[in-house]
């Protein structure tokens, strides 16, 4: 894969605070990469390093095959969209869009042509003469994207562009960004807190923790085969159930529970023995009609029911282990009921308690 952005052994320190350490990342041409991680893990810092807004402490950054480690932000062929939109309040929308082009000493005709094209793509033509204060949040964010668009940048950097918007608008703009990506086909790096955004937009997701990338893989892979406990816990809502136990002769055994692991793909295709943690997604615990497909069955005692419309989350206990299960929204269960549940070893996840890595 030809890489559009290549980050090599990147270190970034603020004084004595190590924010990024020895980070390596290759992003392919036209790829949509999402950086996902909890607050303070260094996502924005990484993005600012790529943009050239922060001087790196060590390592290199290559964009489009050029080493841009020392280049100015404007020379890197990037466009950036910020969470707070960061529109210039004294300029009209048109002024905002053309500011970067004017700085690049582009001809008037070229500028107006590019502005018109961006406005057309983003459907903000009627707003061109307005000031940002007279725009709604969604319109502002569109203008902010337009500012990156007019630059014809090969790389778009987004730092939580939608997190200031309400849920509905967020969903709309998410779709628009996805369409924009397939239309323009340029590389996009997108920082977010929102798992749904990450799962729906990304070609690949990089899960970050403490300045390091915990897993870099497709959304499908991250969801189904998380590489370690952190990723497993981070992805999915409600989060995965974890039960501590032991692997004995092909079975996972915990108190009051025994699940044969036939069909589980071990990381290096060799069965393991000894202490383990099993991770079960609430939606992968079979109930009702799905029980037929489950290998091992047991009973769970319901303690709390959360109906969410499309589905229902129940909090229950198996033996001494509390678990939560996602059931069909039409299910009728009450606290105190016993429900039959089943496990599908092929969809389970096993982790080593000491290294926290996938078994």
């Amino acid at each position: 894969m030809e890489s559009s952005i290549s980050i090599r052994d990147l270190d970034l320190r603020f004084g004595s605070v190590e924010v990024l350490q020895g980070l390596n990342l290759d992003i392919g041409v036209g790829e949509f990469l999402v950086l996902l991680g909890s607050s303070g893990c260094g996502k924005s810092t990484l993005l600012n390093c790529i943009a050239g807004l922060l001087d790196v402490s060590d390592g290199q950054i290559h964009i489009g095959g050029k080493n841009v480690t020392w280049a100015e932000p404007s020379e890197r062929g990037i466009g950036m969209v910020f969470q707070s939109y960061a529109l210039y309040p004294q300029m009209t929308v048109e002024g905002n869009l053309s500011f970067g082009l004017k700085n690049a000493k582009m001809s008037k005709a070229e500028i107006s042509q590019r502005v018109a094209r961006a406005a057309e793509i983003l459907q903000i033509e009627p707003l061109l003469k307005r000031k940002p204060a007279a725009l709604s949040g969604g319109q502002r964010q569109r203008v902010a994207i337009g500012r990156a668009l007019v630059r014809d940048a090969e790389v778009f950097l987004f730092d939580e562009p939608l997190s200031n918007l309400d849920a509905k608008l967020r969903a709309d703009l998410r779709v628009e960004i996805k369409k924009l990506h397939s239309r323009l086909g340029n590389t996009m790096v997108y920082v977010t807190h929102d798992q749904v955004e990450a799962m729906t937009l990304a070609d690949r997701i990089a899960i970050m923790k403490g300045g390091q990338i915990m897993q870099l893989a497709s959304p499908n892979e991250i969801y189904n085969r998380p590489k370690n406990l952190y990723v497993a816990e981070f992805i999915g809502s409600p989060s995965m159930n974890f039960i501590h136990g032991e692997l004995k002769g092909g079975d996972f055994v915990a108190d009051g529970l025994s699940i044969p692991m036939t069909g589980y793909e071990f990381a290096d295709s060799s069965e393991k023995e000894g202490k383990a943690i099993i991770g079960l997604r609430p939606e992968h615990i079979a109930t009702g009609d799905n029980l037929a497909s489950a290998v091992s069955r047991t009973k769970a005692k319901v303690s709390l029911v959360e109906p969410m419309g499309s589905d229902t989350i129940i909090y229950a206990s198996v033996g001494s282990h509390p678990i939560h299960i996602r059931m069909d929204g039409q299910a009728t269960v009450k606290p105190g009921d016993e429900v039959e549940i089943g496990f599908q070893p092929a969809r389970a996840n096993l982790f080593d308690p000491s290294t926290e890595n996938r078994l």
Partner: protein, 301 residues
Amino acid sequence: MTEQANRLLDGPRGPKPKRVFSRRNIFLYGTLLMVTIYYAIPLYVMIVTSLKGLPEIRLGNIFSPPMEVTFEPWTKAWGEACTGLNCNGLSSYFWNSIKITVPSVIASIIIASVNGYALANWRFKGANLFFGILIFGAFIPYQVMLYPIVIMLRELGLYGDLSGLIIVHTIFGMPILTLLFRNYFTSLPEELFKAARVDGAGFWGIYFRVLLPMSLPIFTVAVILQVTGIWNDFLFGVVYTGPEAYPMTVALNNIVNTTQGVTEYNVNMAATILTALVPLVIYFVSGKLFVRGIAAGAVKG
């Protein structure tokens, strides 16, 4: 469901009635009134006195309005009052003050705003040290520096000259103004600055095209601070300029303290009001902007 009509019960409904003469209001407005009187009475006395003739003043009723309004004290204060050496009134000193204030206000604000901008946004190496030294400068008593600066200006050949005083005012305005601008620029969203950098604007491009247009309130505050501070300055004026170049405040002092002949209270009052006129006008014209600018640090731009 009950009927529409009886859903509303008797008792409180709509906005809560406010009593005009509540204890709180009496206390609040009483205090305001007292403070207003405290500040307004001296001004009143000055204006009234400046419009009276000397015989009327000798009657001693300083609060009574003039029986016969005369503008003669004003013309005398402006054109003929004696300031020790000559008797040309305040007019030439008024122009001295203008010649001192205008360049020092402009120079100090330009330099300080660029300083503040560099400190807030460009965090260059040693920025914190530089800022620390600058702030420390604000706390050194002027008296300590008075004489060393005399020597420095003399060595530069600027002592006793308007330009020397302009330089002194510009330098002494630096700490507080730089702090003011730095804090204002820090309060602006940082992403705006980042966006401008991605858009390829440089140091000056960002300053002039992005930040300046957003900074009218803080510039107003700076102008007011500097105009009043420099216009009202007496100490530097008397120390660093010679008799020909005295600012208006020094001349006023000389008029009031002239010991020859009778004390012309009306002329003194008129001269004082004339001297205070410039800061007064500045406040009236830009008071609203001033308040907004002071508050701007607290509200996110």
